[in-house]
């Protein structure tokens, strides 16, 4: 099937700004699913609120566009009642790390078989460029006009600490690697987190000397490095990308099936 077979064409061109990375992520999600050969009716996409969440309207799967930060909570209920479905949960950084931070760590703790795709653009885009938990120190935002003083989360360590069994980071520049990582994340039995550095030229870039999408993708190209590379030793400021952990651990729905057997036998 072609990319167009997975989208709701009547809503195109989409509403994202020119150069927004979220469209690249959407394309990568589609290509990963195409390669895996999963049937469209076996896939549920659950999103929250924000630029990232609008992905739901464009994809021809079962799509649930929920509340700000709560996508994983809706997805948990859905997955537990129909474990055979493939659940993809695209989120933004405000969505996943701020208002939905609690659901993120608990989904990781349960190791429920959902794939969280966090499009991290370091800003609240839909509301016009406010600072988020991943806005860097000193960065400018409409609610940080003197520069952001809030330290940012390290999302990878956050979810590793919470017990996620698959954690990866990629960028919109490294798109072939993104497709590859998404395939592995979707196939992984357990909670998978894929952080995608995804540019917001309109609100983050413009305010922070990265005026265009191209500038921002060049930043991802030049300022990231594969996990454990020699470059990282020389330049500790480089952001690592790749798969940080991929480990088989008891998955929540599988554990629940065992619990049912136990309850029935008593």
């Amino acid at each position: 099937m072609a990319v167009k077979d997975y989208i709701r064409e009547r809503f195109f061109p989409h509403l994202w700004c020119p150069g927004c990375g979220h469209g690249i992520v959407m394309g990568a999600m589609i290509r990963a699913i195409e390669k895996l050969g999963i049937q469209k009716s076996d896939i549920v996409v659950v999103s929250g609120i924000g630029c990232s969440s609008r992905i739901c309207g464009y994809l021809d799967f079962h799509t649930l566009h929920t509340l700000h930060g709560r996508a994983l909570a809706f997805a948990t209920g859905l997955k537990l009642s129909r474990p055979e479905l493939t659940l993809l949960v695209p989120m933004g950084d405000g969505d996943a790390f701020a208002i939905g931070g609690n659901h993120l760590i608990h989904a990781a703790r349960r190791n429920i078989d959902l794939t969280a795709i966090i499009m991290n653009n370091n800003i609240y885009g839909m509301t016009g460029g406010q600072s988020s938990p991943s806005t860097g120190y000193g960065d400018l935002a409409t609610t940080a006009p003197y520069g952001n003083i809030d330290p940012s989360f390290d999302p990878v360590n956050l979810v590793l600490g919470a017990g996620a069994s698959f954690v990866a980071r990629t960028t919109t520049y490294h798109v072939t690697s993104m497709i590859n990582i998404l395939e592995k994340a979707i196939t992984h039995k357990g909670f998978s987190v894929v952080e995608v550095l995804s540019q917001c030229p309109t609100y983050y870039g413009r305010k922070n000397r990265l005026a265009t999408a191209v500038d921002m993708m060049n930043f991802y190209k030049n300022r990231t490095t594969p996990i454990g590379s020699k470059d990282k030793e020389k330049n500790p400021d480089l952001i690592e990308r790749g798969i940080f952990i991929q480990e088989e651990r008891p998955e929540y729905c599988a554990e629940y099936a065992k619990l049912i057997e136990k309850a029935r036998s008593q």
Partner: protein, 382 residues
């Protein structure tokens, strides 16, 4: 006679009712005085292959049941005041997306943490207007275990019929009172199952296009029809829309499907109302005290009656209006500062004959609390 009489708490009667109605999925978070519902269901549901999950907070519990409902399951959560406040956003999502679900709120003293182990009926207006925006919702209550069971089954039935969240607004007194429950036999109480679409695969399915009878058949997530569900204003396919005509129709539909069926949704109990000169109007635990007073006064020849509301919202205005028409005085008995009182005054247009007998200090309303008011009305002094 079969051995089907149980001795249990109101919370347990609620669980029995939910299981009778076909509860498939429960998500919750511990909170007094509703916790027994979650505890009992964590034991009962897995034993029949169904799902229970304790979520990380109240918000996610509400979200999880909505997610599960979309796969075709009958779902419920249970909470109390502070948790009910936290669930409101997602209750609004269920209203907007027309997702069937049942929310039990065991009322305790508020505001805030208030009186966690005391009874109250302070959430009547919150149940009606807790979530933001214009909307309609169904709220049921009950005063004893038998009715808690029946109203719980009703809650699921109405939720499926009208594709709406239904709130079971019980209170701590009813929830923790131990009394008997005669378990209905299977089939004794009607159970409404989900209405699924008959539109076949490959044919355009409209999740938000009401049939001629106003009902909207559903298609389960994971089924053959792939559609969108959003909390945004949406068209008949479930896709976001800001078109004024579409938004108007949606708003009218969401409100009219409930307000326009008030008669069908109304559950009410009447005691000695036919010849009553003075009428008590009450609900939930307060109705127990009110009934005691009425029965007691009837023995003395006083023409006192009781209207026990089981449907609080949509407010059964027509019944209340009709019953109060030839009555000299009406006393609303409730454990708050007059939330249903205002509704009664609003619908009967004769506010001067409506009085309030209430309790707000965390103790249970006693017969004397009602008798004191009756004495004042009858000019006998306090």
């Amino acid at each position: 006679m079969k051995n089907n009489v149980l001795f249990l708490q109101g919370n347990e009667a609620c669980v029995e009712g939910a299981l009778y109605a076909g509860l498939d999925f429960f998500a919750g978070y511990p909170i007094t005085p509703s916790t027994e519902i979650a505890e009992l269901l964590s034991y009962r549901l897995p034993a029949t292959g169904r799902k229970f999950i304790q979520m990380e907070d109240e918000l996610s519990s509400m979200c999880a049941i909505v997610g599960a409902s979309l796969t075709g399951k009958k779902v419920m959560t249970a909470t109390s005041g502070p948790g009910f406040s936290l669930k409101q956003e997602a209750i609004g999502f269920a209203v907007m997306t027309e997702t069937p679900c049942v929310i039990v709120n065991i009322q305790r003293g508020g505001p805030s943490t208030g009186l966690p182990t005391s009874g109250s009926q302070g959430d009547v207006m919150q149940a009606r207007w807790g979530t933001h925006g214009e909307h309609a919702i169904i709220v049921l209550t009950a005063s004893n275990n038998q009715d808690v069971f029946a109203m719980t089954v009703e809650a699921f039935n109405l939720s499926e019929t009208f594709r709406t969240p239904v709130v079971l607004l019980f209170d701590e007194v009813v929830a923790h009172t131990r009394e008997k429950l005669t378990m209905p036999e299977p089939g004794e109480i009607n159970v409404v199952d989900r209405l699924h679409t008959s539109v076949p695969k490959g044919t355009d399915y409209h999740p938000y296009l009401p049939r001629e009878d106003g009902r909207l058949p559903m298609s389960d997530f994971g089924g053959v029809h792939r559609y969108n569900v959003t909390g945004l204003a949406h068209d008949m396919w479930g896709f976001p829309s800001t078109n004024p005509t579409i938004v108007y129709d949606l708003m009218r539909h969401l409100v009219d499907k409930i307000q326009g069926h008030t008669k069908e949704i109304t559950r009410i109990k009447e005691f000695f109302v036919e010849d009553a000169e003075c009428l008590l109007i009450s609900y939930g635990a307060s109705a127990r005290t009110a009934l005691h007073v009425v029965e007691n006064r009837r023995e003395r020849g006083e023409k006192l009656g009781l209207l026990e509301l089981q449907t609080l919202w949509p407010f059964p205005a027509d019944v209340v209006k009709k019953r109060c028409a030839s009555i000299d005085c009406v006393v609303v008995v409730e454990m708050n500062m007059g939330q249903i009182l205002h509704e009664v005054k609003r619908v009967i247009h004769d506010g001067d004959k409506v009085f309030l007998a209430n309790k707000i200090d965390g103790t249970f309303i006693a017969p004397t609390d009602i008798l004191d008011i009756l004495r004042i009305i009858q000019g006998k002094g306090a």
